[in-house]
């Protein structure tokens, strides 16, 4: 079935590349490219300005996209602010909301740098929530910390980008609210894999990126409960976010437009909607992705000297591992030369690597277009790399 899906992605048409780095960015289906091209070739105009027909058409498509994306994650349309991506969404909340209301932010040890550094930039103290041996958040410790620190701000990833752990978000949100805390969920790795309903979760903020879910780069969104958004000051100033401007004072539009200064990434917003629509039609194949992940894990476990970092079952989208005695970068280079594209290194999550006492891992990350054949080729390539890197020739003549 996934071979059929592969055909939707022009990237795979002209090469034999095995792409297992979708947690970094996914490939894009033709329909996304078509919709973006349609904007540029048929109704390219700026949005929310002027009176002409083209501008109207562009604005309508733009706002329809907002509506679709919002509904896709269970939000109301006016609760969805476009950003460059998850990173900008978190920076925005840190700067326009948390900085003036909180002194500390509670994070898990699993977080990506984009859920660490924005808080530090605003001078906020970071309190780290400990993990158990399988890299799950210790819920008792979590509750204890929040009980001692009510009315705090919490920011946690939905799915770990480096170990695939799915955090029990609903529970975490529930506990946070029990102690009158507010909570942001980093949904960067969740959007492509899980059905998200921000209302059902009762998240205060939820941040996503399009490009990890078959959409274009440079576009993402922040969901925020309307009352919270309304209480926030603008992040940036510029065109199309004001009601009145004079040299003395300006007044601002209501959310979400208040937070969208300047011309937006119009084609990307339209492409974002197309990507989610595409994803929606494939929802039923999500199970196959889980099957593939289990298949890959089984195959990896068959390799000698394999080191996996979690035995948890609540895992999705990616697997991280090392081969004992071999540097992850060496494996990454040799796989790349065999047309297997995956990521090695710290995956922008240095704190968790430090906790595990490693410099990095080799990460396979999956999307709907991956097949068992991809996994088989990868395992073969890993075996070849291990062979080259561990055979003991001790041939000194090479060095002269």
């Amino acid at each position: 079935m996934n071979t059929i899906i592969k055909k939707d992605f022009p990237f795979f048409n002209n090469n034999d590349i095995v792409y297992l780095d979708s947690a970094a960015t996914s490939q894009k289906p033709q329909i996304v490219l078509d919709k973006m091209q349609e904007y540029y070739t048929q109704y390219c105009a700026n949005t929310h300005r002027g009176e002409h027909e083209l501008g109207d058409k562009a604005t309508t498509e733009f706002e329809n996209s907002r509506d679709y994306i919002a509904k896709f994650i269970g939000a109301n349309t006016d609760e969805l602010v476009f950003t460059k991506g998850t990173t900008e969404a978190i920076n925005f909340v840190a700067s326009s909301f948390v900085k003036s209301r909180f002194t500390k932010v509670f994070l898990s040890e699993l977080e990506h740098h984009s859920n660490i550094v924005p808080w530090q930039l605003q001078g906020l103290e970071i309190v780290v929530l400990p993990l158990d041996k399988d890299l799950n958040i210790n819920l008792e410790e979590y509750e204890k910390l929040l009980r001692l620190n009510p009315k705090s701000f919490v920011s946690i990833t939905h799915v770990s980008n480096s170990f695939g752990i799915i955090n029990p978000i609903k529970k975490l949100i529930n506990i946070a609210h029990k102690y009158e805390c507010l909570i942001l969920i980093d949904g960067a790795q969740a959007l492509a894999h899980l059905r998200i309903d921000v209302k059902d979760l009762d998240a205060d903020f939820y941040a996503v990126s399009a490009h990890k879910a078959y959409g274009p780069t440079g576009i993402g969104a922040l969901y925020g409960k309307y009352a919270l958004l309304e209480s926030m000051s603008p992040y940036q100033g510029g065109g199309s976010m004001i009601t009145e401007v004079s040299f003395k004072k300006s007044s601002y539009l209501k959310p979400p437009l208040r937070f969208e200064a300047g011309t937006q990434a119009i084609a990307e917003v339209i492409g974002f909607k197309a990507a989610l629509k595409y994803l929606f039609t494939l929802k039923q194949t999500q199970k196959e992705e889980d099957i593939l992940l289990k298949y890959a894990k089984e195959k990896l476990q068959g390799l000698s000297r394999i080191q996996l970092y979690t035995q948890a079952e609540n895992v999705l989208g990616n697997i991280s591992f090392n081969i004992k005695g071999v540097h992850h970068n060496d494996i990454g280079i040799l796989l790349s030369k065999q047309s297997i594209m995956l990521r090695t290194g710290h995956h922008c999550a240095m704190p968790i690597m430090k906790k595990l006492g490693i410099k990095g891992t080799i990460r396979l990350s999956f999307a709907l277009y991956n097949t068992k054949e991809d996994i088989n080729k990868t395992i073969q390539a890993i075996q070849k790399a291990i062979h080259l890197l561990t055979k003991n020739k001790g041939d000194k003549s090479a060095s002269k």
């Binding site: 970068n329 060496d330 280079i333 040799l334 030369k337 065999q338 041939d395 090479a398 060095s399």
Partner: protein, 142 residues
């Protein structure tokens, strides 16, 4: 551009690296070079000797003997060790003046930066730069 032993070594290495039809054979050769790298004494694995900008850790140690500079290195990754061994073969046992006479553009023939995937920073360029920094420091002392 002055021709000296260094540029000859670069030419010879470029020829050697070009021999391989199969890319994996080329890597096997580089890995062998890495294995053959002289063990670097732990005491030289210092922050000063650490090469900035590499995805794996690389230490480059230099010492002078009878007017010539010698380089020793280590890395936690094998392919990078092979690369640094190539640089050592080129630059070790030459005077700082001989090193500084060589334009780094000559190294482009070796296509070294294609061997490791470049991160945000170019590790190879940093290694080469470190060798030249050592050479300049040595030259300034004279």
């Amino acid at each position: 551009m002055p021709q000296n032993k260094i540029s000859k070594e670069i030419k010879q290495l470029a020829d050697e690296l070009e021999l391989f039809d199969d890319v994996m054979d080329k890597y096997e050769y580089i890995i062998e070079l890495g294995r053959a790298l002289h063990v670097l004494n732990e005491k030289y694995k210092t922050t000063t000797n650490l090469v900035q900008g590499c995805q794996s850790q690389v230490w480059l140690h230099e010492y002078e003997k009878e007017g010539k500079l010698y380089f020793e290195a280590d890395s936690d990754a094998l392919i990078v060790k092979g690369l640094v061994q190539i640089l050592i073969r080129i630059y070790s046992a030459h005077s700082s003046k001989e090193i500084l006479d060589i334009n780094t553009a000559l190294l482009e023939e070796l296509h070294l930066s294609e061997i490791i995937s470049s991160g945000r920073q170019n590790g190879i360029a940093s290694m080469i730069q470190k060798i030249y920094t050592y050479a300049r420091q040595d030259n300034d002392k004279k």
